[in-house]
């Protein structure tokens, strides 16, 4: 078990394309890090560089204090779980699990013990003599994880391991991965494009965009204080509303509406305003309000998402189903819950306010 240090790592392809651009992350021993971003953001490339499957163009990766830049994957003391499982189809589950250990010259008795232990942990003991083809997707996924566990590596690397599973199985496997990682205490790096998976699994999130790190932080930090409009729109579902507004002194104008901030605004002039759908509520009588022209309503059961327009800008609001919805709604928001981003570049302006209850898990609307 060991920490991983990624220092200024870049991947430059022939032709000068930078798939990963000077990324630095310090990962503590036993930490669960999730690399998240849209496709093409370089998250898989970064993971493959840590694994040693891809050359490192610049920078340094060290695992447990050893610089591993020039080491073969097998020497790096890591184990990887692939998206399509990459099980050896002609070997039984037992042989799949044992293969890495056999190559290392582990004594037969120890291989047996470790395979049995991993199989018990993953509840695949009864399938040990089967071929991968005779297993369901979820079982194959367990075998792929078993193959990583038996090696007792310094770190697990997960490359979108759940994206081939159906939605229901994904949720339960997600829980299982988290539980397993807690239990084993192995440093893990997990790549996904699914922000929900990222939020629920991570000790710390690394949001990547275009080969650069947009933000590193705990899921709640990232959720409540996104560092840029990119993070704001990527993390959270429904996505954070981003509307253009203008700050003057202690007042914010959005389209026709004006909101009193109650304090000096962190900037002046045009800004992008971020509003979480669940931070909006119905305005009380006489309260300054955002008028919303309702377009349509999505019923989710526990809540409903109301889509509409403020002036000519789209806005989504999450409301309790108990609230009657007419043609028009008057909405209010706690000014402390507003996020401001620079119009140019989209970086955050001012501190994020993490609410007092933020330590409790956030119920994620799916």
């Amino acid at each position: 078990m060991a920490g991983i240090k990624i220092a200024g790592v870049s991947k430059i392809y022939a032709g000068g394309v930078k798939a990963v651009n000077s990324v630095s992350i310090d990962i503590a021993d036993g930490e669960f890090i999730v690399l998240v971003g849209p496709s093409g953001c370089g998250k898989s490339t970064l993971l493959r560089m840590i694994a040693g499957l891809e050359g490192i163009s610049d920078g340094e990766v060290s695992i447990g204090g050893r610089v591993v830049n020039r080491m073969e994957p097998a020497e790096r003391d890591i184990a990887m779980v692939f998206q399509n499982y990459a099980l050896y189809p002609h070997m039984t589950v037992y042989q799949n699990l044992a293969y890495g250990l056999r190559n290392r010259g582990t004594p037969k008795a120890e291989i047996d013990a470790r395979v049995a232990e991993a199989a018990r942990m993953l509840e695949i003991t009864q399938y040990l003599e089967r071929k991968p083809r005779a297993l369901s997707g979820g079982q194959r996924q367990r075998v792929a994880m078993g193959r990583a566990i038996v090696r007792k590596p310094a770190a697990f690397l997960f490359d979108e391991p759940l994206s081939n599973l159906d939605a229901k199985l994904r949720v339960s496997m997600r829980g299982e991965i988290k539980r397993l990682q807690r239990r084993l205490g192995t440093t893990s790096i997990y790549v996904t494009h699914d922000q929900l998976e990222a939020m629920t699994l991570a000790d710390r999130l690394v949001v990547l965009n275009g080969g650069r790190i947009e933000q590193i932080g705990s899921p709640l930090e990232v959720y409540h204080a996104p560092a840029s409009t990119f993070v704001a729109s990527f993390i959270g579902s429904p996505a954070m509303n981003l509307v253009s507004g203008e700050l003057h002194g202690n007042r914010l104008a959005i389209g026709p509406a004006v909101i009193e901030l109650g304090a000096q605004a962190p900037a002046s002039g045009p800004v992008t305003v971020g509003i979480r759908a669940e931070d909006l509520r119905l305005a009380r009588d006489g309260e300054a309000a955002l008028p919303l022209n309702v377009d349509y309503v999505e019923e989710l059961g526990a809540q409903r998402l109301v889509h509409g327009q403020v002036g000519d800008q789209m806005l989504t609001v999450a409301l309790s189903p108990a609230i009657a919805i007419g043609e028009q709604l008057s909405l209010a928001i706690d000014p402390a819950r507003l996020h401001f981003f620079a119009v140019d570049g989209g970086r955050r302006i001012g501190e994020g306010s993490v609410p007092a209850h933020a330590s409790a898990p956030v119920a994620q609307p799916v």
Binding site: A51, A74, A86, Y88, H90, G100, R133, R147
Partner: protein
């Protein structure tokens, strides 16, 4: 497609039966001819019903010291054919699977060029490049040797090409998983690629064994020593006797026997195929 059109069913079956008859009739005639004595065969058209000399003809061809004038005996030629066919099969598969492995999984200078050089040899059949090939074999002193008989036929691109196409369908993650599991290139080849190629190897065995077994032109060119004669050459020589009668009943018996090994290998390897398929298909 489920259709119930009796006439169409009748028509398709009629065509199939007709086609089968056209293909099978010569074989049938050969079998029948091998059961008659020479007098019956010389006296007119080949009868369509079996005669009474079956055991006599077959034991004659298998036991007589010489199959015909100047030829070694039949089983000696059959052994030569077998050695040649097996050598070509084994040699071709080993060489082509290794070269395909190199071309697909290693990055080296002129890799693409190497592939294309191998590939263009597919463009010309052996017969077209037979003179230069003969010259090289002769200059290397390989006439009248097993090496001369088999090596030029081993070097060909078909199998390399097939293995290359197959290797390219193996997911990259398989190689990556093996690397993470600590398997070097040759270990990956032995532990993962070879077992995965099993059905391909089986199919190629069938094709290449038959290819080697029926070789006629090349052995005819490079061997003058009767000790290296193969069955196909021998059969031909038995028909071209200078004087006296052609022993048609023996020629036919020899032909029928020569057909057996390819048939056996198809039947035998097909069972391997199916086992390979069902194991992976489960």
């Amino acid at each position: 497609m489920v259709e119930n059109r009796p006439f169409l069913t009748f028509l398709t079956h009629a065509f199939l039966i007709l086609g089968f008859a056209v293909v099978a009739l010569p074989v049938y005639v050969a079998i029948i001819a091998s059961t008659h004595d020479i007098a019956t065969l010389m006296s007119g058209p080949v009868p369509l019903l079996p005669g009474s000399h079956l055991i006599e003809n077959y034991s004659m061809i298998l036991t007589s010291a010489s199959a015909a004038n100047g030829l070694p005996n039949y089983s000696h030629m059959a052994l030569n054919s077998l050695i040649m066919a097996v050598a070509i099969t084994v040699g071709k598969i080993s060489i082509s699977i290794l070269s395909a492995f190199a071309i697909v999984y290693f990055r080296f200078p002129f890799r693409q060029l190497a592939f294309w050089i191998i590939f263009v040899t597919l463009m010309l059949p052996v017969e077209v490049r037979i003179m230069p090939t003969y010259k090289i074999v002769a200059d290397l002193g390989m006439l009248n040797s097993w090496a001369g008989l088999t090596i030029p036929l081993i070097a060909s691109a078909t199998a390399t090409f097939l293995f290359r196409q197959f290797f390219m369908t193996v997911p990259d993650e398989m190689l990556e998983a093996a690397r993470v599991d600590g398997a070097g290139p040759m270990k990956f080849f032995r532990d993962i690629l070879l077992p995965l190629s099993r059905t391909n190897i089986g199919a190629l065995c069938v094709i290449l064994f038959i290819y080697g077994w029926v070789q006629y032109l090349w052995p005819l060119l490079v061997t003058t020593d009767p000790g290296y004669y193969t069955l196909m050459m021998g059969m031909k020589r038995m028909v071209t006797v200078q004087d006296g009668v052609i022993q048609w009943q023996l020629v036919m018996a020899g032909s029928v026997l020569a057909m057996l090994p390819p048939i056996l290998i198809v039947i035998f390897m097909q069972r391997l195929f199916i086992r390979g398929l069902t194991e992976t298909e489960k």
